[in-house]
Symmetry: C2
Subunit: 416 residues, 2 copies
């Protein structure tokens, strides 16, 4: 089974939006065991759209279209596809009801062009849009499969997941066993180091398959297998997971798709522990990561951004002698990191206190190089742990990697 993804929209060709739909669909199709051989982007133009359909139909078995099914005259995907397939369009009653309901609910009159969103291709299967108005479509013709999805990701993704994927499994992958996957999440290790450790498993392409899975700033491995049912699949997946875990025991923090902050918060909540932070060079980034998660208030209480030395003294009681003077360790030092973590813990009355202080760059500070960072974890029940990092990279990299490394260290501290 070879697939082609065709994203439709002049805004993509102008570079006004990123083609994240192609990435999402590629990942989903790979998980179904379907090879994507081409991705195409074409504008809102009938001639070129028809050309793209014909080119793709000549080289793929499954064509997945996304975009170009909205209400305007520019939205031509269904017309172009119907034209190439020699079929006509009709107004789908159920989809039209969905459009009517939307405008009635808003108490706004429906303009005539919105009827276009209920158009479907004769002889195909309309795919209901649960999060928008434009109906999708799935058509089988001459042994090839055509799927039409909306452009906005918040409509496209649920329609693919709930409507298109089951249709593909039933019609195009008939008789094949369904695919089951598990996500393994890693921290404290870089992507290339991780891949090196698993290279034989990744390259073997055996069953289950082991593949790196792209997610912004995270290192994730997806293991997948085909099986008759979930129980049979899990037996196979668990075996591979154990093999991977045995190679990387200190980096594998979850076998479901959650960030490490979530694992930390869950663990601390279970144990009734509370948390605070004092941030200098990261300026709030670490606290922002915790509070981005719903329910974080059960564990994370707050903290202090002590960007200036004056505030390190005033709000966090760092002795002046530690910060200033010929032989003082300075703001970027193990000593200051230790005081910051211990003081924020005491001041906020929490069980754990975290701290980060460093030179984010560009350029040095206190005659220390950019990328030098000290972090500490203070706790009621153990000695304060201090860590030194030397990070190569720009300001963003130094800040993000500092925060991520401290999260990893905290997770490890909670393991012991």
């Amino acid at each position: 089974m070879k697939a082609e993804i065709i994203a439709v929209g002049t805004e993509l060709l102008l570079g006004q939006i990123l083609n994240s739909n192609a990435q999402y669909l590629s990942q989903e199709l790979a998980a179904l065991g379907i090879d994507v051989y081409f991705q195409t982007v074409v504008g809102d133009n009938m001639t070129r759209l028809a050309h793209a359909v014909e080119t793709a139909a000549g080289r793929a078995d499954i064509l997945i279209f996304t975009g170009g099914i909205g209400p305007t005259q520019d939205d031509l995907t269904k017309e172009a596809l119907a034209g190439v397939l020699g079929r006509s369009l009709y107004e789908d009653a159920e989809a039209m009801e969905n459009v009517d309901r939307f405008f009635q609910g808003r108490g706004v009159p429906m303009t005539e062009n919105n009827r276009r969103q209920a158009l479907a291709i004769e002889g195909g299967t309309p795919l209901p849009n649960e999060t928008g108005l434009a109906v999708g479509n799935a058509i089988e013709q001459d042994g090839k499969f055509y799927i039409v999805l909306p452009g906005p990701p918040k409509e496209m993704k649920p329609m693919f997941e709930r409507q298109a994927k089951p249709w593909i499994l039933e019609r195009a992958l008939t008789g094949e066993q369904p695919i089951f996957s598990k996500m393994l999440k890693f921290a404290g290790i870089g992507e290339s180091a991780l891949e090196t450790k698993l290279l034989d498993l990744i390259q073997a392409q055996s069953d289950p398959t082991v593949a790196p899975y792209a997610k912004e700033g995270e290192v994730t491995i997806r293991i997948s297998t085909k099986a008759l049912d979930e129980r049979a699949a899990m037996l196979k997946l668990d075996a591979v997971e154990r093999e991977i875990a045995s190679r990387l025991p200190e980096y594998l923090y979850a076998n479901v798709d959650v960030p490490i902050e979530q694992v930390i918060l869950d663990t601390m909540q279970e144990r009734g522990l509370s948390l605070s932070a004092a941030e200098s060079c990261t300026g709030g980034l670490l606290m922002e990561m915790f509070t981005a998660l719903p329910g974080s208030s059960a564990v994370f209480q707050g903290g202090i951004v002590c960007y200036s030395n004056a505030l390190k003294e005033k709000l966090l009681n760092v002795p002046h002698e530690l910060l200033e003077g010929e032989n003082a360790p300075g703001a970027v030092s193990a000593e200051t990191a230790k005081v910051l973590a211990e003081q924020v813990r005491l001041i906020t009355g929490t069980d754990f206190g975290l701290s980060i202080t460093g030179v984010a760059g560009p350029g040095q500070s206190e005659r220390k190089p950019a990328g030098l960072v000290y972090m500490a974890i203070a706790r009621q029940d153990a000695d304060t742990a201090v860590f030194e990092l030397n990070i190569k990279g720009n300001r963003d990299t130094v800040r993000i990697r500092s925060a991520k490394t401290l999260l990893y260290r905290l997770w490890r501290a909670l393991q012991d």
Copy 2:
């Protein structure tokens, strides 16, 4: 002039990476006045790559390839293109020197496969790689233009900017005037509202052109014109800028590509003003935005994340009666926002103090709906200003829009 962008790499077809190169190149070509009619992604496979080259050559005048020119046997872009053009490959001496220099500099022996990175197409122009090893290429044949660039953005972008763009201007756009652009940056207004106000200018496609420019979470308009020289261009661009500014005077914060935080910091630094913040629902996001900018320490001193009510009382002196009790306004209230901003200003000894407190969701809190947010700006020289927001959207949206709106309000306060 019609262009097609062809990104080469199986990792794109597996969804392991996002095709951000296509977006970058589309924006750059649009700025040169070149229409992109198709974007294609193809894997590291000779047959399919050759098919993609032939298809594109049949429908475009300029073909821009990115990726597939590294050292491995999988890197086939130059071979495939040379094959279709009926040309041979040779080892470019200058490029080979660059490769040799790299390995000598590292004291590592060069493996033989790295010679592939110095290959160029006979009769073309090698494009030096200033940030990597693989040499690029530009070829003109039968009135069509072929440009080969590396895949990694940190190599692709400088090579496009410094090597490919001048070549395109000289060879493909011969005799045409160069293009000049200006970026107009807006805050406090949504993208669609902005576009509505400028729709006639955007749709006219007259000279200068006015086009929305996609950047994560920002609203930007690019105005471009062709002219003999910069002075002539600026006369035309400034006139359009004045027209746009007159329609949206309270939202246009810069005519260069900087974030609003930068404008705020620059303005405050000029006036010798200092800044602090107290954040509840945004949990450090606002302070993170300031401290992400190099040099922010000249203005931004730090602040407090008071996520729990206990810390609002303890660290920011919010009266207990304000927070708790049957008829208390509660943590999410204009009263609390006001105290937070005023107290953080006093405690840190800064000229300005900011605060944000709200219900980020999901779900309500204090019987108040998700999306209800109060913000305040306290200052030494004026009354504290308090703002109420009702934001529709998920937790991320509520948090980001709160912070961005407060930045906008602060910028406006500094205008007056």
